[in-house]
Amino acid sequence: MSSTVEPPREQFRLSMLLNDTRYRSYTFQAIALVLLILFMAFLGMNLVRNLADLGQNISFAFLGEPAGYDINQRPISYDNQDSHLRAAFVGVLNTLIVAFLGCVTATILGTLAGILRLSNNWLVAKLMAAYVEAFRNVPVLIWILIIFFIMTAALPGPAAFRGVDPEQSMLFGAMAATNRGVYVPEPVLGPGGWLFVAVLIASVAGVFAYRRFATKMLYDTGRDLPRGWPSLGILVVPSLVVWLAFSLTAGSTPNALLVPEGAGGQTLEEYVMAEGGATLCLVDGASSSTVAKTALLRLQDAARSGPVDDRVNLNIRTNRVESREAAVAAFEEGQCTLLALPQAAAADLSVGAVLETELREGRPIEWDKPFLSGFNFSDGVQVRGSLIALWFALAIYTGAFIAENVRAGIQAIPRGQTEAAASLGLRPGRIMSLIILPQALRIIIPPVISQYLNLTKNSSLAIAVGYMDVTGTLGGITLNQTGRAIESILMLMLFYLIISLSISAVMNTFNNAVRLKER
């Protein structure tokens, strides 16, 4: 006979909302929710009233209107008649460019500094500690401004490179650091260029595949395949074959050099010396034009060297055009005095005369070098001071933080691991790559990824040096011109939020993949 007595069912009383833990949580959440809704409503009503008072509204129509401002660094085609949306997109690309460059450089710098800080060389360790402390403890904005000042005020102007006896000379004849930016050669794909690039990429992939295969072979059968020379072979041989094949066949077909009527029959050198210079029609992306330009630049160098009295300054200019047809048209109108064409195409044309000099079509990759024309450098790639300032400052600053992550990661591996590996008979290089690094990377990579995130967010400081990233276009000029503050800043925040959340997602996936698999 059971004698359990049902406890009397408690009546629900109002005071239980405060005193009974079963209900109290609902009370608190309800209060929080109500307060939140009230707060939001307060903000929303203020917004509506303020907008009504000012006669404004919320609308994203301004994105379709012409932006009306220029952007000095354009990864995609853009002019001031394009829409605000396209301007914002150019800004997004610029942000991604500087973030990518910065992350790569910061990783290299940080890894190097982090490992050197653990070096048993006292002086190097102390130097790296000084680097880390100096950069971690000073605002990144100050570093950006300092490097920007070096790039714009401390470097020489293009004028310093002028004349037969310039104060400054270009690095390797191909690079120039001026206060208007750093000029570097631009690669131009010639005959078989795409194939060459594709083969190069495939070879790199092949090297990785081979090393994977060698590891698998070692684990499966115990045969230790050589790794060094086969990797080198896979990397170099196919690319070299493609390079030589195209250089010797399609690349070596001669081109005709067209000059205005009456000047035919001379060599290029005679023509240029007689005219005191030349204006070349440079077809974008055509290696034949680049070869002709290289020949011209070589003539200019030759004219400037030699005994001082004989030095001549040739007036070399280029006229950039989109296509070969446009080049022919420009040549006919007299906008340029020199045009490099395949011989068949030149024979079909009835304009100009042909020079005696024959130039080849070009190698798979030709370098379009910058050169001083008039008062400024032209051609090549102009890397602006603002980009360099932002890139270097962010990289060096973030590198200091990454160095600390790397150091902490390596130090977190117990010494016993090294000793155990050594007692198994592993060589020091193998200990590092097989035992220490796989464990240290698990610790190092998550904080390093969040440093990448910080770098990307810090790239919004571009606005301080006039680099046109998304903060400079959408959050800067577009905002000021249209007065659409709420919309612009909302979109700006959304952009950064999307980047942050996707990087976080990558990080979580990684963390789950490398997590210690426990019970």
């Binding site: 203020n46 303020n50 002086l123 000073v138 605002p139 810090n458």
Partner: protein, 433 residues
């Protein structure tokens, strides 16, 4: 036994030879050099490269620094004095010293007030920073914000005094009600303080009429220079600490609504750069406030930076909370402590101790980030340098000296803070190894 030696043969030595110093090659400076700098050819090459790098930097900078000019009215004058030799123009620092520290619109006859506030800050922060000092000094710290406000902004003394009284009223109500339950005490205190502050508006005019004690008022837009960085840094960090702890507790809470409010707030703020939040403070925030409210820019910036910092502090504190063993929570529960007591007495003291390095990192980062306000045309230290000083005809082109000075100032403060945090960590280490 003691006479054993007396009977041994004469050529056996009876006393020990004193130990000889090791040969030069295996001890002393030579050994240290060999071990630490020249252990193999690679290390030797690194050492030589580093020595050359150090030499190069010093050779470039030392003559320039030491040959500097300290007394001149403009860059042109500096160059005249230097007469073509390499040298820094430190004169810009001496001539613009006050502008660098206080901005260019703070009345110069009132410089003593922010200076005094800064000195008091050092005194009043001491009991918080150094646990060895008498706890009674914390009362000074509690009153410091009101004193500092009165000194820097000026105006009637009754505003800060009554604000402080409001806090005291709130605290009195809290300590009366907390015996019943923490929530009652907390909300009661908040309500009491709010009611008092609402009444405060009616109390100030009569009080000012009776006792018109006031300092000359300085509007917020006149703050500038390094003073602005310090104000923003200290105010935002001290405000964001409690908010950050509350957010961290909210994020760890088992109540879904409170948890999600905290998560969304934290992730949103951490996902966007500070610059965009400053833009919000500059151009957007006014849309969300009632019409005709005139919050000045500093206050709007303080609000946004505080939100920014509290999200980061919340994540640091959450790390500390997560690092505590579950047993601590369960032990607190088994003692019969309620949530507030468990947090106050058991969990937070330990979690905050774990979080100290992280909190200091956030503080240092935030202090550095206060320079970003120069982007929305406020004249903090960097803003002063980029704006009024470099734009003036006298000092146009003095970059190295000014930015070097700014970098040094920040370095001293931030390095000091991080060294302090390492010291504090050692102090608080109660476990033994």
């Amino acid at each position: 036994m003691s006479d054993v030696h007396a009977r041994t043969v004469a050529f056996v030595r009876e006393s020990e030879i004193p130990p000889a110093p090791p040969p030069e090659a295996v001890g002393g400076a030579v050994k240290w050099l060999r071990d630490n700098l020249f252990s193999n050819w690679f290390n030797a090459a690194l050492t030589l490269a580093s020595l050359y790098a150090i030499y190069w930097v010093l050779a470039q900078s030392l003559p320039w620094i030491l040959n500097g000019v300290w007394n001149a009215g403009s860059l042109a004058e500096c160059r005249e004095i230097l007469a073509g030799t390499s040298g820094a123009c430190w004169a810009v620092l001496t001539e613009r010293w006050n502008q660098l520290l206080f901005g260019f619109t703070y009345p110069s006859r009132l410089y003593w007030r922010p200076s005094l506030a800064f000195l008091l800050l050092l005194v009043c922060a001491a009991p918080v920073l150094f646990p060895a000092l008498p706890r009674r000094m914390l009362i000074l710290t509690a009153f410091y914000p009101f004193v500092a406000y009165f000194l820097i902004w000026g105006g009637s003394i009754w505003t800060p005094v009554l604000t402080a009284v409001g806090f005291m009223v709130g605290y009195a109500v809290y300590s009366r009600l907390v015996t019943q339950s923490f929530a009652m005490g907390f909300f009661g205190g908040v309500v009491a303080a709010l009611v008092f502050w609402l009444l405060q508006g009616y109390l100030i005019p009569p009080l000012s009429a009776v006792a018109p004690i006031a300092l000359e008022a300085v509007p917020s837009r006149n703050m500038g220079g390094f003073m602005l960085n310090i104000i923003l840094g200290t105010v935002c960090i001290s405000l964001s600490l409690p908010i950050g702890i509350a957010l961290a507790l909210g994020r760890q809470s088992s109540l879904p609504i409170i948890k999600w409010i905290s998560v969304i707030f934290i992730e949103f703020i951490r996902g966007v750069p500070l610059i965009t939040l400053l833009f919000v403070a500059n151009v957007v925030l006014a849309y969300f406030l009632p019409p005709q409210t005139n919050l000045d820019l500093i206050l709007r910036v303080v609000i946004m930076i505080t939100m920014f910092a509290s999200a980061y502090i919340a994540e640091v504190v959450r790390g500390g909370l997560a690092a505590l063993p579950r047993g601590q929570y369960e032990a607190a529960d088994s003692l019969g402590l309620d949530y507030a007591q468990a947090m106050r007495l058991i969990i937070l003291p330990q979690a905050l101790k774990i979080s100290i390095p992280g909190i200091v990192n956030v503080a240092v980062g935030l202090f550095k980030d206060t320079t970003l306000v120069s982007v929305i045309s406020m004249f903090d230290l960097v803003g002063m340098i980029r704006g009024p000083i470099l734009a003036s005809t006298d000092w146009n082109g003095v970059y190295w000296e000014l930015f070097g000075f700014a970098a040094l100032l920040f370095f001293v403060v931030c390095y000091g803070i991080s060294q302090y945090s390492q010291w504090l960590e050692r102090q608080l280490q109660t476990d033994r190894r």
